[in-house]
């Protein structure tokens, strides 16, 4: 499987509408080698609509079936995300007969039972959950999860933030703190972490912290990407 975070971050990290958001999931599925990708957000304080929307690469038939059976109430992935803050895999030990039926039916619609979800608590009282599923061998899937756990958590958050932009355009604003600005500017000039640390009389660990926070603010997959975005948006001046 590919580097999903890079695939997403280097394409588009903001959406104007749910159509774009859904296209991005399809893109991630195709180019990332996934079975499916899905996103749910709920409790958004929007002025219109009910503050909930669900996007996925699942078939329209499954979506219809899901709504008709009110599966939102028993879907363990949704229920888990609403009551827990920790990332989780979909394997349920000792599933009830109701859940067995749910997973059985999902399987008939081609949905892989091998999935991983990242719940996200937002600042507006909203809750998002980003999920991926893949048809790998159990061992490969476990290895992938262990290796890519942090990246998938970042991906989930970046995707969530891109969706938030739809209803809350101010969410797109990026403000770098003075330290983030200084450090990213030095990185733009090609300085390595230890050099920047010397220049600013800070520890390399501190430099790494601000580079990480800059990457998250800019929704970047790595520092090079963060620098490129910051320059493109006029947030730093590489010639200054």
């Amino acid at each position: 499987m590919k580097n999903l975070l890079g695939l997403f971050a280097e394409t588009q990290t903001t959406f104007q509408d749910t159509g774009q958001a859904e296209t991005a999931l399809e893109d991630l599925k195709q180019r990332g080698g996934l079975s499916d990708a899905a996103f749910l957000i709920t409790n958004l304080p929007t002025t219109d609509g009910d503050g909930t929307y669900a996007l996925s690469t699942y078939s329209k038939e499954w979506h219809k079936h899901y709504i008709a059976r009110s599966y939102l109430d028993i879907d363990p992935i949704v229920q888990n995300a609403l009551t827990r803050i920790t990332p989780f895999s979909w394997e349920i030990p000792n599933p009830s007969s109701e859940l067995k039926k749910f997973f059985g039916e999902a399987g008939e619609f081609g949905i892989s039972a091998q999935g991983f979800s990242v719940p996200i608590r937002g600042i507006r009282g909203d809750i998002g959950v980003f999920s991926i599923s893949a048809d790998l061998s159990p061992k490969d899937w476990l290895d992938y999860r262990k290796e890519m756990q942090s990246e998938i958590m970042l991906l989930g958050y970046y995707y969530y933030m891109a969706c938030l932009d739809i209803d809350f355009p101010e969410n797109r604003d990026v403000v770098l703190s003075p330290r983030e600005y200084d450090i990213l500017s030095w990185a733009a000039k090609g300085k390595a972490t230890f050099t920047i640390a010397e220049i600013l009389s800070l520890s390399p660990k501190t430099i790494e912290h601000y580079l990480a926070s800059s990457r998250v603010k800019l929704r970047a997959a790595n520092t090079t990407h963060a620098v490129a975005k910051a320059v493109r948006w006029g947030l730093i001046d590489p010639l200054g």
Partner: protein, 212 residues
């Protein structure tokens, strides 16, 4: 052993012990302005499904506990202690969680390690670092006062202050700090506790993390 559970999964008796311990530790002993009802301390952050880590003995008695929140949403540094930030930007990252309401049941254990730190404190700190590491986090953030700071240092925690120092109502100098949760940090805590084995973990979340 360490129980890592959310409100919806945890043993109700254990949760009751935790909220009572918190009422005693923060309401009674430290005299903080916390909300105590029926001998239990709870706040708005308990309502957004945090992850609780509870150190429990073989008889099921609670020895120590803490609470973990995502920094992408409401948390204490952002919503209660923002004074501590000073010129620093608010931390918002899926890879940084906040640890709060760290308390130890003084009646339950007085065993101290070579560094003079309560063995239960060490166990919970090692548990915290391990859970954070296994969850894919890069750091933890926490607010602490000067007394807690000394304990954290002597327990081998690796952390740096973030923001400025503020003296709150209880007169104590308070700071926010960013903690490492990598292998080095875990080893440092284990070394300070003079132990060779990891704590024993139980709970649905722990099983999830280590699913084979």
């Amino acid at each position: 052993m360490i129980v890592a559970e959310h409100y919806s999964d945890a043993n109700p008796e254990l949760l009751k012990q935790m909220f009572r311990l918190r009422a005693d530790a923060f309401g009674t002993r430290r005299g903080w302005q916390v909300s105590v009802k029926n001998g239990k301390e709870c706040d708005q952050f308990d309502e957004i499904n945090p992850l609780y880590l509870m150190c429990v003995d073989d008889h099921g008695e609670l020895l120590a506990s803490l609470r973990l929140l995502q920094t992408t949403g409401p948390h204490m540094l952002a919503d209660v202690f923002h004074d501590l930030l000073g010129d620093e930007p608010l931390l918002r990252s899926p890879l940084i969680w906040e640890s709060t309401r760290f308390c130890v049941n003084k009646n339950a254990s007085e065993i101290r390690n070579a560094g003079g730190v309560n063995a239960v404190t060490c166990e919970l700190l090692e548990g915290l670092c391990t859970v954070a590491n296994k969850s894919g986090l890069h750091n933890l953030v926490s607010v602490y006062d000067v007394f807690m700071e000394r304990i954290l240092r002597r327990s081998g925690c690796i952390f740096q202050q973030y923001g400025r120092t503020v003296r709150y109502d209880d007169g104590l100098k308070t700071k926010a700090g960013i903690f490492d949760v990598n292998e080095i940090a875990m080893m440092s805590i284990r070394r300070a506790a003079a132990k060779t084995s990891a704590p024993r973990f139980v709970g649905k979340y722990w099983s999830d993390l280590n699913a084979a």
